[in-house]
Symmetry: C2
Subunit: 334 residues, 2 copies
């Protein structure tokens, strides 16, 4: 379903409810779901993956780890418009949050990776990001005795390979969900979890049609949609989904970003051009919905969006095993 047909459904629903005088909050409820705690986690794999996620030795420079751009102290993002890669290269696109990313239909803004495991291999070997290669990364890990033992314990194989590395990182990332936001408490029956203004924002979010794309447990992440439906987007505009499908119809289509923890994941949009939620809501209203929200409406929607901040993953900072005399040394400056 594309954004226009979704909007039509939302509009019909809103009109129907308005006609019936029904409290609209309840009618849209079924389009959402609370974030569930992680299920079926292989803890050994996830613990290993946590170390790898924080280990800069997966980069050529020995300086950049997954956590550099998906900083778990900062909503799983780097809070930069576009990321900083090897030798301070400027990335082409905004780093999406890793939080709740297991709920997305695909990974990267253009969905070029089917899942977290496939995604995890990308930045390691991307010359503009960690600038390493899978082979070199494995050479490093194989030279670190404590990693060799831990991989053997977890994967029961004689040799480490990149599949094990990305599988462990993906398993850790599956644990990075953020349940218990005030919105989720409200969804689960705590009727006073949202203030009057936040509820008004929730109604506007639904009735204006934001929900057409930002729905499901992740309020997004479950479809590709065009950036600039009613008006074209004036910022930096890569091909988006079309780069993957080769279809002209997919130009300027992006995976709809999750709105979970959106208060923490500024700046917004694929190019990180919107610094504030106020600005993002205003632009989305005009470009996607043809609406100009009043200041009060914008404030209410922003207030609602801030109820989507859930419990951040809490864990001990991992202690990484030291390199050995045989470990190839990082090359930050050549």
């Amino acid at each position: 379903m594309n954004v226009k047909s979704m909007l039509a459904v939302a509009a019909v629903a809103a009109a129907g409810m308005a006609a019936m005088g029904v409290a609209s909050a309840d009618q849209f409820r079924s389009l959402y779901a609370p974030i569930a705690p992680p299920q079926s986690i292989d803890l050994g794999k996830a613990e290993l993956g946590k170390k790898l996620f924080f280990d800069p030795r997966l980069s050529k420079s020995g300086f950049i780890s997954c956590n550099s751009c998906h900083n778990l102290s900062r909503g799983g993002s780097d809070n930069l418009s576009t990321s900083i890669g090897d030798k301070w290269q400027q990335g082409p696109i905004n780093s999406p949050t890793v939080l709740n990313s297991s709920l997305n239909l695909a990974q990267f803004w253009d969905g070029r990776a089917a899942d977290l495991k496939e995604q995890a291999g990308g930045p390691i070997a991307n010359p503009a990001e960690m600038a390493f290669s899978h082979t070199l990364a494995i050479d490093v890990l194989e030279s670190i005795p404590a990693y060799v033992r831990e991989f053997k314990l977890v994967f029961k194989k004689d040799k480490i390979d990149i599949d094990q590395v990305t599988e462990a990182i993906a398993e850790f990332e599956k644990t990075l969900v953020t349940p218990n936001s005030r919105f989720d408490q409200w969804l689960l029956g705590k009727t006073d979890a949202l203030t009057k203004d936040e509820l008004a924002g929730y109604r506007l979010f639904n009735e204006s049609g934001c929900v057409a794309c930002h729905n499901g447990p992740n309020l997004g992440g479950n479809s590709f949609q065009k950036m600039g439906v009613v008006e074209p987007y004036k910022g930096n505009m890569p091909d988006g989904r079309a780069a993957v499908t080769g279809k002209d119809a997919d130009r300027f289509n992006f995976k709809v970003p999750t709105l979970r923890n959106v208060e923490l994941t500024y700046p917004y949009f694929h190019d990180g051009a919107a610094n504030t939620l106020t600005e993002a809501v205003d632009i989305m209203g005009r470009l996607q919905l043809g609406k100009r929200f009043t200041k009060e409406e914008n404030d209410q929607i922003v207030a609602f969006l801030k109820t989507l901040t859930g419990d951040q993953p809490q864990f001990m900072l991992p202690i990484l095993p030291p390199s050995s005399d045989q470990t190839p040394r990082p090359k930050p400056f050549n």
Copy 2:
């Protein structure tokens, strides 16, 4: 006391003990002390300091935090020869570990900061490191409501200032000690905490004179000594202590680095030129002591050095408060 007179004392002691047939391990014991747990910590200040230590918003780019170069997953160091600063500038000197740094007589290799509080302000404003200014850092912090509240709670003042920032960071750093190494267990009476080879290495460490500079609870950090006593050092050679004192006699003098956790803080020396402990022990033996250790001796000393790895600081990854609409945005690319 300079390195030569210290060596003389050590030599006399070693000769005396050898003459008496006394087990030398016990004679040198009083030159060391176990790492003590942190005392008199202001926990509110330390918790705030932990957040600041991990917060890249204290840098111009929004990408570099204290933890970038003093990575607490990696022995409080970055494991690079020299660090990476703003715009990937190559630092002039190896990042010393922050672990147990509260025990040092001064901070930085040249001791130009009297204490941790004074040190903490340096990198923030250094154009080659975090490239910010104290004023801009305070502007950022003052714009973040959760920080404003936390500073007020901890310091009971109306305004945040750089003194509070560096005091909080220093208080956190005081907690970063690493007690309970096997060497400390041995010092505290667990006679089987060290293997035969490790004890042999300990004796060599003492009797060869390493202890002349690497003594006290931190096995170093308590004096400035010349790099290249017997033979000149062939690597990169900044002025060292002379840059602070202006005295020619202090040229090539550096604060003796701690050997605590030295297994984790490779590469070694002020220029990070020695990749392995084997190499570092060999070079130190020749340049500082005029000794060429055999392979067996070198192995034994290295085995002893690896008993100096203590319990690494264990804590939850801090969750940083989000910026507000008023927060000045980072400028990584201009």
